[in-house]
Symmetry: C2
Subunit: 368 residues, 2 copies
Amino acid sequence: MPLSFEVTARCPVTGARAGKLHTSRGTISTPVFMPVGTQATVKTMTPEELKSLGAKIILSNTYHLYLRPGADIVAEAGGLHSFMNWDRAILTDSGGFQVFSLDSLRKITEEGVTFRSHIDGSRHFISPEKATEIQMQLGADIIMAFDECIPYPCTYEYARESTLRTSRWAKRCLLTHKKEEQALFGIVQGGTHRKLREMSVEALLSLDFPGYGIGGLSVGEPKPLMYKVLSYTLPLLPADKPRYLMGVGTPDCLLEGVARGVDMFDCVFPTRVARNGTILTRKGRLVIRNARYARDFSPLDPQCTCYTCRNYSRAYIHHLFRAKEILGLRLATIHNLALILDLMAAIREHIAAGTFARFKADYLGNNQ
Amino acid sequence: MPLSFEVTARCPVTGARAGKLHTSRGTISTPVFMPVGTQATVKTMTPEELKSLGAKIILSNTYHLYLRPGADIVAEAGGLHSFMNWDRAILTDSGGFQVFSLDSLRKITEEGVTFRSHIDGSRHFISPEKATEIQMQLGADIIMAFDECIPYPCTYEYARESTLRTSRWAKRCLLTHKKEEQALFGIVQGGTHRKLREMSVEALLSLDFPGYGIGGLSVGEPKPLMYKVLSYTLPLLPADKPRYLMGVGTPDCLLEGVARGVDMFDCVFPTRVARNGTILTRKGRLVIRNARYARDFSPLDPQCTCYTCRNYSRAYIHHLFRAKEILGLRLATIHNLALILDLMAAIREHIAAGTFARFKADYLGNNQ
């Protein structure tokens, strides 16, 4: 087995669970948040900085790396870990989400998807086989089956057709995948239709993946609807396999996802908004460019112990953003990631201590 | 004395000298290169990264800090060191160079200079008194007299008038300056006219500054002409005071400046070209975006031991630049600064060992 998973604690009130995901590149305590390194770099950060924040696994995007620099160059470099100097675990997505986001630029058939590069407009074709091969070349520890991420809203008919196709594609990925040290996860689709989610889970379970992604959420649907889909979908998945809610990463969604039994998350949210000057704090968000922070010599979040909060004031970071200085993007990214990773560590501790439900209520109460 | 200087070694062949500049924030071995932190940050870098490269003193720009965030905010933060989290020495320029670079936006009188902000077009007036007061507020360890940087080429008449005015301004700066822990340096001007340089030195020496800048060079004149001006100007300055060649920082100019007795340098060159993807190596420059580096898995400079060269390949940094990733700017900046600071360390060692002349010839021979 390239990967093994054990549940080590369960919340007595919610569906939350803590666990250990053992990979050949270290053990990852779950629930875990994976910072996103789209183009073989978590934007603005070095690997050492990510480690100092406690990141144990990062996500990178197959679509982007396939187009640039190309999977062959990454393979020649000895794989993604070596290319980007990151020796902890990596998960790559399948490229499906990005390809399907291209919208008018792509065409879907049973065989796969034809699309145009967002970089230079060049034509490309990705099939389940090709997505798997590319991910084998990249060499991540966990890779994802090639799926179609159904948009929201979407007709039942289209969602059904797409979900059935994604299940057929999952099988083709599995048949293509030949890399023992790598784990291939299936992805549950089905949009916001309970029947289709059940159908998707059933098809995937027959293929027996070592872990399952929950895709097609956080794509524009109201949050309560996302929570509802999670509430009826997660209990269908085997308790002894990790469950990964794709593309979700705001504090409220992390807490609600964990409460429903999610083990893994990824999202560009904390890093993307950081570069935009939006700072996450334990009491909500602040926009650091705002004039009110020009003479505020307190740290971004007085409760935070990250490098940024230990050493710099809001006034300084306000200045850096106004002056368009890269250090501002770095300091904000460090802080936002620290806040999310600290939240996940607190979640794990509270699940172990049996106090998660209370912690969740308190956190959501403060974070308005 | 806020500052003291001692010469510890002299080159037996050239005019090069090694020394120690003692400040209240540590001793700086000279000849020294000061990385430039224009807007209270050395672009892309944290203070810890600068320290790990061996930087002992950085430069920051009064003009920029005066406009943004404003000297009052920096003072309220406890001064520039505290504002930017840098506890080693800082030198601020007087703002003269930037103001005079504004060209059509400024007007000079005996009293001072009226100019428009490059940020918002607002009108400002800086006099020698005001430039000194701003620098007192910023709180750097070494500050510079407010001078006019004469353009090249320039008529003898204008250069003479300007140089005389700069000398009168130097006196006004000295009379304004009341901060014992801060050292105020005078600036030798005079353009490329030997007689005016002599006149400038004479006027400054009568004011007895603790150190002297050499201004108005590297402003477009041919390098041999700059070297010539240095050759006849530096011997006029007292041997026991530090000499700072302003705005100079390419390897060849550093070596030629040191050979003529310069102790201190600053320049945006290594950091600015880094962000443009131009990499300095011990064998010349390379443009990392060039397609030839896409599959080059060797370090930027095989002879370099910096963080970047220990951990990343040309192929990866090529990818980061192509993908417009900030980590690329960071890694290139670290490397270019490391190369320049390593060069300065080697220069100091060779002066101490009496082998500087040979080292200089070898370095310039390799670095074509």
